[in-house]
Amino acid sequence: MSFETMLSTMSIGMLRTIGIFALTLLGALPLGMIVALLKKSRFVVVRAIVNAYISIIRGTPLMLQLLVWYFGPYYLFGMNIGDWRYPALIIGFVVNYAAYFAEIYRGGIEAIPIGQFEAADVLGYTKTQTFMRIILPQVIKRIMPAITNEVITLVKDTSLAFTLAYQEIFSLAKQISASQTSFMPFIIAGVFYFVANYVVAFVMSRIEKSMDYYK
């Protein structure tokens, strides 16, 4: 197999990796906010459920969670899991990352001085307005460094899709390397992850800088 063939075969894997990455962020960034807000719910039961969810997600390996999402429906409900691989994969990633994002959001919200909430309240803002207009923009600025860390981890974590035999770049690299007895696929995959994270770091630092106009 020529280098060009190898590269073009693996480029499909790269697209799939980017797909997992994008869908996970798309799902987990908003879901994490919902979880963070539910954690502050006035209902004890809701808070207990959210706390249990976060501690289970953080306390078990993502690899294991992916296997549970994939095989669970079959073992629990006898569901046919033929078309279930990709949904299970995305659900597994989203649910996992949402828990980590939720904790970052929570920390960010709690770091906003109480006076900001009170000033908004006295001015007559509704709770939603207070959150969207006053609190959230300040939270986002504060949590950007932590979010960047998570996003970079996510780029590398997508390789865990290999557990469900989903052919993203890492699975493909391993496969092609075995069949061609070549080391090259690993180097290609390594360069891909590195470049992807370089881009992520660059974009995130631009976003951070765009919020540098205030302290």
Binding site: P113, G115, Q116, E118, A119, A120, D121, V122, L123, G124, Y125, T126, Q129, R133, I134, P137, Q138, K141, Y213, Y214, K215
Partner: protein, 252 residues
């Protein structure tokens, strides 16, 4: 009567902070509240502005009741939607300014008028610039709060409250976070508002200021109003032992 607080009771974790306090403020009046730390002055303002809920008593603005007394004697508030309408009657200036750091000075002044009171941008900006002019900081309209001194920030906070056209303005120790140098410029602004007959309630430790600017002074201690009256009476001829003792600290 702009504000009428009657028989207010408030406790925190079993500690009674306000014991049956009544305060009414008429249009154009400037009321100063003085007293030692922990006397309940700030709590009284926070109850008046609904940042704290009262346990008993009633609060009325412009003759409209925001609370009523329930069957068991406890205070019950009107619905949150109804309560929000009361917020247009008053403004509050905090000790720590609490400007919105991500908004420019101008945006700090126009955001609530536009999004809470649904005024037009032109209208809100015109009011805002007029107020900044009056506060002597019109040149800072495009700056951000962190670029201003404490005294300037507090003047912006006063302008932000005034931009909502409140009937009454509360000040919670407006100069306590400021250097003596910067205190003067803020007090000057409040004094000028008093001359314009703005209705105000000021919790303060600035005794000469309280004496000069207010129509009425309240001395609070231990959750009650110990003494109140004209500033010259309370300051120069206090009747209560507790008041005399407190005021003597400020004499040199």
């Amino acid at each position: 009567m702009i504000l009428q607080m009657s028989n207010i009771r408030k406790h925190f974790d079993g500690l009674e902070v306000l014991k049956d306090i009544s305060l009414s403020v008429d249009s154009g009046e400037v009321v100063s509240i003085i007293g030692p730390s922990g006397s309940g002055k700030s709590t009284l303002l926070r109850c008046a502005t609904f940042l704290e809920t009262i346990d008993g008593g009633t609060i009325e603005y412009m003759g409209k009741a925001a609370t009523h007394t329930g069957a068991n004697g406890a205070a019950e508030y009107v619905s949150p939607q109804e309560l929000r309408k009361f917020k247009s009657y008053y403004g509050l200036v905090f000790q720590q300014f609490n400007l919105f750091p991500h908004y420019s000075i101008l945006k700090n002044l126009i955001d609530a008028p536009m999004h809470v009171q649904h005024r037009s941008k032109e209208d809100a900006e015109a009011t805002a610039m007029e107020l900044l002019e009056k506060m002597g900081i019109a040149d800072k309209a495009d700056a951000y709060p962190y670029q201003l001194s404490g005294g300037q920030q507090q003047r912006v906070a006063i302008a932000r409250a005034l931009a909502m056209h409140p009937e009454i303005l509360f000040f919670d120790e407006p100069t306590s976070a400021l250097d003596p140098e910067l205190t003067g410029e803020v007090l000057k602004v409040i004094r000028r508002l008093a001359e314009e007959k703005m209705t105000m309630v000021v919790v303060t430790h600035e005794m000469p200021f309280a004496k000069a600017v207010s129509n009425r002074v309240l001395f609070m201690d231990g959750g009650v109003i110990v003494e109140q009256g004209k500033p010259e009476d309370v300051f120069d001829n206090p009747q209560e032992e507790r008041t005399k003792k407190f005021l003597s600290v400020f004499e040199r």
